[in-house]
Subunit: 453 residues, 2 copies
C-alpha cells in the first residue's frame, strides 16, 4: 500500500499490528519513537473501551462515549498508518497478512484481535442469548431490555407478562455482575412511573453461574459482599446452576436438586469467551495449536514458539505467568503486553535483549451499582462507596479522550443525581422496529393482543 | 388496553395521538390539565429533535443527544399513556386506530406522523442516495461519509479516488446547506492529518438544486451570504441543475448547457419530502384526497372536512395560511398546531369555541458552519457570528432534556476549540462492516486493490 511505502525510505522494519484494542493500540503508541514503520489493521474504525460496554447496554452511555476513532488517536504519530480492513488470515512463509482485498507484507507481526463470547458448543444460543463484546451487541441488548418492558406493558396474560419481566444473565463474573446491577437500577429507579400497566421494579433479574459464588476469581469476602449488594438490589443469584437449554421463552437450569425451567424472554450471555478465529488461522500456519479457549500458547517474550518475529497479545494469548497461573483476559494484561512488545522491538533494533514479560497486577474491580463496588488492589480489599469511587476514578482516567471523560462524567453525575439515563433508545433495522413488540429477534412470534374497548 | 381503561373512570373522552414528533408531543403536554385520557402512539420510543440530525450524520453528536424517551418526558403526566406500536391504518366509521396487533378506540383522533423524503417517483434512488429523517438514516449517512474517506485512502487509481472524495448533496434547502457545511468542516479540519495517502481537504462537496439559489425560501440577501459562506468552505453550488439519474458511481445532472456526469460514490438526498402514508390511509377513510406531497388539506381548526373530531398536524397537513401561502414543514408550525388543538379540545369540553389557527412565525434560521449562519427574525435579517449565536441558543433551549442540553453544549464547545468530533463511528450490520471498503451499501462491488510490496 502506498501510505506504508511512502515512509519506507526512512525506516526499513515494518511492524504490522492486527487489532486496535488495548494491546494493539498501546503497542502502536509505545512505538512512537522507535524507527520502524507501523501499520495498524482493524476492521473497526475505533478503539472500544469494553469495560464500560455494559453501560451502553443499559442506556447510561452512548456508544461514542466509549469508542474513539483510531485515526484520531494516532494522527500525530507519523510512523503509523491505520488500515480499516478485515484480516482474513496469514501467509507466514510469505510474511503476509491476508485481507479481504489484497494483503500486507510484514517484517514483524503482532496479532491482538481479542476474543468473542463462547457458547460452549451451543452456537444456536447466540441469537437467543446475545453476549456483550461490540457496540452492536450493546445496542442490541439495550433494544431487547427496553422492548421487554414495552411488551410487558401491553401483555394481558400475567404469566406471559412475568416472562417479559424476567431477565436471566448467564455468568456471574464481572460482566454478569455489572450488567445485573445496572439492569436492576434501570428497572427499579430509572423506569419508575414511566409505565401505566406494569411496575418495572417487579422485574426479576437472575444471575446463573455454574460455580459456587459470583466473582469467583475475586477473594471470597468480596464475592460475599457482591452477592449481598446484588440481593439488596433485588437480583437473584443462582450459583451451582448449569444452563442446559435456551428457548425463546425459557431457560433450563440443572441444579443439585434437579432440572428447572425459568420462563423468560430475555437471556443475556456473560459466561465464556473464546479467542478470535485468527488464533486458529495463525496456529495452522505456525505448526502450533490453540488451547480449549482458542488461544495461542506464547513464549515468555510474547512470541510464538519458533517464530521470534510473530507476537500474540491479550485475549488471544495463553500465557502461564511465573507464578504458574494463566493471566486473565483483562485490559491491564493486554496493555502491559503491548508495551512489552514495543520495548522488545526497540531493544532488538539496538541489539539489546529484553527480560521475560512480567505482569504487574494493578488489581481488579467490579461495580455493582450506585455507591457499590468491590476492588482488590495489592493486598487490600475495598468495598462499598470507597471501592466505587476508585472504580469511577480509574475508569474515567482510562478513557482515551478528554472529551469523552467529560461527557461520561456529566452523564454519571446526572445519573447519580436523578437516576435518569439519557441513552435509552430502541434502535435497529426496520425489520426489528416495524413490529416493535415482535419476538423476531427473540426467535419466534409474540402473543400480544392489544385490544381496547 | 388496560392502562387506558384504568383512567377511564375519571375522564370519558379519549384522545389518541399518532406520532410523538413536535406536533404530537406538544399536544400531549398541553393537555396535561385537561380532563381527557390521552394515548400517544409511536413506533419509536423517543422524541427526535430532527433539526440537529445532520450533526449526528457528520459525527458531531451522538443519537441519544437529540433523542429523548417519550415515556421519560411524559412520566409525570398521569392522563397520558404511551404505546409503542406501529399504526397501520384507521377505521374511521368504527372510531378505531389500527395497529399491527389489535387496535385502539378513540373519541378524538390527532394524526401527526410526519414525513419521509421523496424521490419524485424515483424510489430506486433511495438506496443510492439516503435521506436524513431518522436516527438510522443519520448513522447510515455517517457510515457512508466516513467509509468514503477510508476507501479513498486505499484506492490507487486517481479517478476512482476522486470519486470517493466527491460528495453530492441533492437539495439546497436548510438540510442540504447544513449537511454540506458540516461535511466541509469535517473534511477540511476534523480529519486533518488522520490519513497518510489522501488529504481529506481535497474532498469536493457539491450542492445540486433545481432552483436558482440555495435557501430559496429565505430572503435573497441571505441566500447570497449563504452561498458565499459555503464557497469559502470549499463547497460547490450547482443551482439550476436537475438530477436525472443516480448510479452507484455517478450522478447525472441536466443544466441549461446540457447533461453532465459527476463521478461520485456518495450522494445524499436533501431534496423533497412526502407525508407519511398514513395521510393517504386517512384520506381513503374520510373521503378526502392528499395533495402532491401526500399531505391532507385541513380546515382552519386543523380538523378534516366533515370530521370535527379528527385532526391532522405538522408535516402531514397542508394548511393554507390566512396570507394564502402554505405553511412550511418546520418544527414551529407543528408545535403551534399541537398547542392549538390542545386548546381547541379543552375549549370544546367547556362548550367554548376556538378562533381559527394563526401561525405566529418565529422566523427561520440555518447554520452553515462555525460562526456562520443566517436567520430571519421578523423583519430583521441576521448573518455571520450573531446569527450563529442565535442559532446555537435557540437550538440548545429547544432540546427537551436539560441533560442533553449540557451534553450538546460540551460537544459544541469542544468541537469549537479543537475541531474534533467525538461521534465518528462506523457502525452497522455485520454485512456492511465485514468488508468495510465494500460498496455493498453503495450498490455494487468495489475495485479496491490493496497490495503492498
Amino acid at each position: 500500500m502506498k501510505g506504508v511505502n511512502q515512509t519506507r525510505s526512512s525506516a526499513s522494519q515494518h511492524v504490522v499490528i492486527v487489532g486496535g484494542g488495548f494491546g494493539g493500540l498501546h503497542l502502536a503508541r509505545s512505538l512512537s519513537k522507535t524507527p520502524v514503520r507501523v501499520t495498524l489493521v482493524d476492521r473497526r474504525n475505533f478503539h472500544l473501551f469494553q469495560p464500560l460496554l455494559y453501560q451502553v447496554a443499559t442506556g447510561g452511555l452512548s456508544p461514542a462515549n466509549i469508542a474513539t476513532p483510531l485515526r484520531g488517536i494516532l494522527r500525530g504519530q507519523k510512523n503509523v498508518s491505520v488500515v480499516l480492513e478485515e484480516v482474513t488470515g496469514f501467509d507466514v512463509a510469505g510474511s503476509r497478512v491476508l485481507l479481504n482485498d489484497g494483503h500486507i507484507d510484514f517484517d514483524t507481526l503482532v496479532v491482538a484481535a481479542g476474543a468473542r463470547h463462547s457458547y460452549f458448543g451451543h452456537d444456536e444460543w447466540e441469537t437467543l442469548a446475545p453476549g456483550l463484546k461490540t457496540i452492536e451487541d450493546a445496542t442490541e441488548i439495550r433494544r431487547r431490555i427496553l422492548m421487554a418492558f414495552e411488551a410487558a406493558e401491553v401483555e394481558e396474560n400475567s404469566d406471559k407478562r412475568a416472562a417479559w419481566l424476567t431477565f436471566v444473565i448467564v455468568g456471574g463474573g464481572p460482566t454478569g455482575v455489572e450488567l445485573a446491577g445496572s439492569l436492576a437500577e434501570l428497572a427499579g429507579h430509572t423506569l419508575k412511573r414511566e409505565f401505566r400497566n406494569i411496575n418495572p421494579a417487579d422485574a426479576r433479574i437472575i444471575i446463573v453461574d455454574a460455580v459456587d459464588r459470583v466473582l469467583h476469581v475475586y477473594p471470597e469476602d468480596l464475592s460475599k459482599v457482591t452477592a449481598e449488594s446484588l440481593n439488596s438490589l433485588g437480583v437473584t443469584i443462582r450459583t451451582g446452576s448449569i444452563v442446559t437449554d435456551i428457548q425463546p421463552d425459557s431457560v433450563f437450569l440443572k441444579t443439585a436438586s434437579g432440572t428447572e425451567k425459568v420462563a423468560t424472554r430475555t437471556v443475556l450471555w456473560a459466561a465464556g469467551v473464546q479467542a478470535s478465529p485468527l488464533a486458529a488461522a495463525l496456529a495452522e500456519q505456525t505448526g502450533g495449536a490453540t488451547d480449549r479457549a482458542g488461544r495461542l500458547p506464547i513464549q515468555p517474550d510474547m512470541s510464538l514458539p519458533g517464530h521470534p518475529d510473530i507476537f500474540v497479545l491479550g485475549d488471544m494469548a495463553s500465557y502461564a505467568h511465573h507464578d504458574g497461573k494463566p493471566l486473565p483476559g483483562v485490559a491491564p494484561v493486554a496493555i502491559q503486553q503491548g508495551r512489552y512488545v514495543a520495548r522488545l522491538i526497540t531493544n532488538r533494533l539496538c541489539g539489546r535483549s529484553t527480560p521475560s514479560f512480567r505482569y504487574q497486577n494493578p488489581g481488579m474491580m467490579a461495580t455493582i451499582g450506585r455507591s457499590s463496588a468491590v476492588a482488590v488492589l495489592g493486598r487490600h480489599h475495598f468495598r462499598g462507596f470507597i471501592a466505587w469511587l476508585i472504580w469511577l476514578f480509574v475508569h474515567l482516567l482510562q478513557l482515551v479522550q478528554f472529551q469523552n471523560r467529560l461527557l461520561v462524567l456529566v452523564q454519571w453525575a446526572w445519573g447519580y443525581l436523578t437516576w435518569n439515563r439519557s441513552a435509552r433508545l430502541i434502535t435497529g433495522s426496520a425489520q426489528a422496529l416495524s413490529n416493535p413488540a415482535s419476538a423476531e429477534n427473540f426467535g419466534h412470534s409474540p402473543d400480544l393482543e392489544i385490544n381496547q374497548k
